[in-house]
Amino acid sequence: MSILLNRDSKVVVQGMTGSEGTFHTQQMLEFGTQVVAGVSPGKGGGRHLGLPVFDSVAEAVGATGANVAAVFVPPPFAADAIMEGSAAGVDLVVCITELIPVNDMIRARAMIGRRGTRLVGPNCPGLMSPGDHAKVGIIPNQNGYPGHVGLVSRSGTLTYEMMQALSQSGYGQSTAVGIGGDPVLGLSFSDVLELFARDPETELVVMAGEIGGADEERAAELIGRGYPKPVVGFISGRTAPPGKRMGHAGAIISGNTGSATSKVEALEAAGVRVADTIEQIVDLVRDRIGVAPTRA
């Protein structure tokens, strides 16, 4: 039905009592996500939004069986929160926080990698499996619609736009994953593509990249070796000048790596059709999997 997140996922929110944590936990609950607990060191024993609050993720996991951690913790403490979630034994950590120091992320990623924990983000909108009424993160509730398109993107608002455009044309999503705009990320495009390849509910994948790094090129290599489902691509930042950080810490062309041209070429060489606009993404999806059933 989906990847990474489904109706059985039990979510613990780290930083739930903060203002962002509070607002987005409410939104997640409204969407139908099974949020089971919050963690705020020092506030354990209390309740917030009708949910139990614990001092540590380990306690929360022990008491509630949570298997997904959502991190809404400020940047200086976020890498620690990611490692804490992993050490407590959750399968998936989703980190929304932006502006985490790169060295912190390198260490956090190495530590959780040894435990086999999956990480989405940081600096990401999180993920949503509309058919399972499950979302972790900040994707607006009204943008998702159940269906068979797998969506993976480095951007936040652009992801919402794509979801809305696809949903309005009748193309719902199995799961939409925002992998984040930082230079050091958890799951890569390739990791998510591999998960979509094995998901029976996903018919086609839309992959939206942007300038910086070479993750899109790596994904193109994976697709070029033979990918079982059609992929539609999109790259933003075609007009971005080299050496300038375009909002996201990871969206920067350094020397010869990271240009939009290189990514578009790599994807096209792997047989991926790359759209120029969001409207065109919908057209290409239609080309590949046919006219969608009318949206309810």
């Binding site: 790169v102 060295n103 190495a110 951007s155 736009e161 705009g181 300038i211 993750d215 996201h248």
Partner: protein
């Protein structure tokens, strides 16, 4: 933050990486005095950019008179947009060999990489492009750091890449490289640097390893841990000498994520990916974007106002394209904010707004009533703003 050469070198010295004797000079007279004290010196422009040598910003001076003349030429010189405020006068080295040694972020592997190459003196990106086999690499365990045996292997790999050059004194090299790499690595950790490189790392005629030049870049997201140092280094670099675009400096002061691009169409949107995409659309429709401005996820009326104000500081701007995706924010709220901002700021240039999402119909009505052109789709808005700004004057 990028450190200037002399700032990087003082960091190198603080961890025991040897650098040439040097003095910083603000005037030709000071440069001459440095040469009197140090003998033959190399006079080097202190600007945070590579390619100084090719631009004439590095000169050898054998006497105080030559040092005076060289400094007089270099000080105040423009190197790719950076005015040279100071020169570093360093004792000239007896160079037998030049290496590259650096710690950098490897985005592909999502960790730091230590690189060593005998193709020193060249920019490492250039070597990576033309002769990648000449660069030996080591990816240290992020918790343990580079171990001695790993560094010896790195050196042996780099040597093998140049055919095991017999003129290079292997045992002395290995003995010196191990502490040097460990010191550079620990410096990169202490400073939260995403780049910490010595290039060239000089092997002198006597076989000593000395840092000929160096670059350090502190991770912007980690600057909160280095407030004092960042302020001190920033003051030392001085206003105006950083070579930053004045509009970008102003935007930073106002707390806005802004990149100046030089065209005529101001662009404001929420979310980095969405704004990048908006720039692409403007270009696809034949326009030239003036800037990138991301007001972030939850667009608030006050931020919209600040953004419009910022965009209009650029005298080149002939029209503004606002592209808002209303997720959690309501369209009517954004529209009200936009109308108020236009009236308060007396905006007379064309303003095209495309908004979608929550309560977009209500938002569009508010805009129309106030005489602002709303657009349904982003491509339509892009074509509209290009049409409204082409040809006509402000």
């Amino acid at each position: 933050m990028k450190l200037l050469e002399h700032q990087a070198k003082s960091q190198f010295r603080s961890v025991g990486v040897e650098c040439p004797m040097g003095r910083l000079a603000h005037t030709p007279q000071e440069a001459a005095e440095a040469a009197t004290e140090l003998g033959a010196v190399v006079i080097k422009a202190q600007v945070p950019i590579g390619g100084r040598g090719k631009a004439g910003g590095v000169k050898l001076a054998r006497t105080p008179e030559e040092a005076h003349a060289a400094a007089a030429q270099i000080l105040g010189m423009d190197i790719r947009g950076f005015t040279v405020p100071t020169v570093l006068c360093e004792q000239a080295l007896d160079i037998a060999r030049e290496l590259y040694c650096g710690v950098a972020l490897d985005r592909d592997r999502r960790c730091l990489v230590v690189m060593l190459s005998f193709a020193g003196g060249m920019e490492i990106e250039e070597v990576a492009e033309t002769a990648p086999e000449k660069i030996a690499k080591l990816w240290p365990d992020p918790f343990a750091g580079p171990q001695a045996f790993e560094i010896r292997q790195l050196a042996l790999d780099a040597l093998a890449a140049v055919g095991g050059d017999q003129t290079i004194p292997k045992s002395s090299l290995l003995a010196q490289l191990v502490p040097l790499v460990q010191r550079l690595y620990s410096l990169s950790q202490r400073l939260d640097a995403t780049l910490c490189e010595v290039n060239p790392l000089v092997i002198t005629g006597a076989g000593r390893l000395i840092a000929g030049d160096g670059k350090i870049e502190i991770d912007q997201s980690a600057e909160f841990r280095h407030h004092d140092l960042v302020r001190e280094l920033g003051d030392d670099q001085g206003a105006g000498s950083s070579g930053e675009d004045p509009l970008e400096v102003e935007a930073k002061r106002r707390g806005l994520t802004y990149v100046h691009l030089g065209g005529t169409i101001g662009v404001v949107g929420n979310g980095a990916g969405l704004v990048m995409n908006t720039l692409d659309l403007v270009k696809q429709h034949g326009g030239e974007p003036a800037n990138f401005l991301d007001i972030g996820g939850g667009a608030k009326a006050e931020v919209v106002r600040k953004a419009l104000e910022m965009v209009l500081l650029d005298p080149q701007v002939k029209g503004i394209f606002v592209n808002i995706f209303g997720g959690i924010t309501r369209g009517d709220e954004v529209a009200t904010g936009l109308v108020a901002a236009r009236d308060e700021l007396h905006i007379t240039v064309p303003l095209v707004v495309r908004m979608t999402g929550t309560r977009e119909a209500e938002g569009r009505q508010i805009l129309e009533a106030a005489g602002i052109t709303p657009a349904v789709s982003a491509p339509e808005a892009a074509s509209k703003i290009v049409e409204l700004t082409s040809g006509g004057s402000r």
